[in-house]
Symmetry: C2
Subunit: 107 residues, 2 copies
DNA sequence: CATTCATGCAATCATATGATTGCTTGTACA
DNA sequence: TGTACAAGCAATCATATGATTGCATGAATG
């Protein structure tokens, strides 16, 4: 059941952007996470609620505001499911190589 | 865009089970993948189509049947998105430890 | 060559999902 | 203490999604 919630949560682009935002800077409030997203506060609030039930985001009350934090554990479990240990090493090496090549191109 | 397709594809439990099935044994046909799933062949076919557009599954025609293969690359990219390199090492170590403990409990 | 089996295509339908509006609660601070 | 700001709750609505049924195509096999 739990993993289903994780995948459903990740299915929406707005929610993934929220995770991106938290990955860039943890501990943001609802209002901060709303900024420049073009949808209503309630919509964002609902998205955050879904991310929390999936345990991808943890929220903590701080006075009248609520701070949100990214939890990477469930994401890691996704990779664990379909990628064998050795296969993962290979894919990581590939990804690293790709990154290096891209960096080299930054003149 | 491409990543959106991947996440949408992973959002459905039937599709995840299909990936599980292919992870266990690659190169299965549509009919084989239908077996014991309790939904119509057309439903499975559509699911496989979605997995293919997400590039999570690759299909190859073999006479009158079609063989399906799991492609782990997009899954690996998910982890790459929200988990830093060092954080990943830490999470992997944790997962390995967890597995080891579970193995020890197998009498 | 005809029939059987694996798959593809199209239309339809119920339900799930994401967003909005309006109202309420509750904390801060002047 | 009352006003402004952060967040929660509820009802509604349009669209997306997953499944089904029925028919079409096309390769293997007798």
């Amino acid at each position: 059941m739990s993993m289903n919630a994780v995948f459903k949560a990740l299915a929406d682009p707005v929610r993934r952007q929220l995770l991106d935002s938290l990955h860039a800077r943890n501990g943001q409030t609802l209002s901060e996470l709303c900024a420049g997203r073009g949808i209503s506060r309630q919509a964002v609030s609902k998205h955050l609620e879904i991310l929390q039930t999936a345990n991808l985001v943890v929220a903590e009350k701080r006075g009248r505001e609520k701070l949100h934090t990214l939890n990477p554990v469930p994401i890691h479990e996704i990779a664990d499911r379909w990628i064998g240990k050795y296969e993962r090493r290979r894919l990581e090496a590939l990804a690293d190589l790709k990154r290096q090549i891209e960096e080299d191109h930054h003149d």
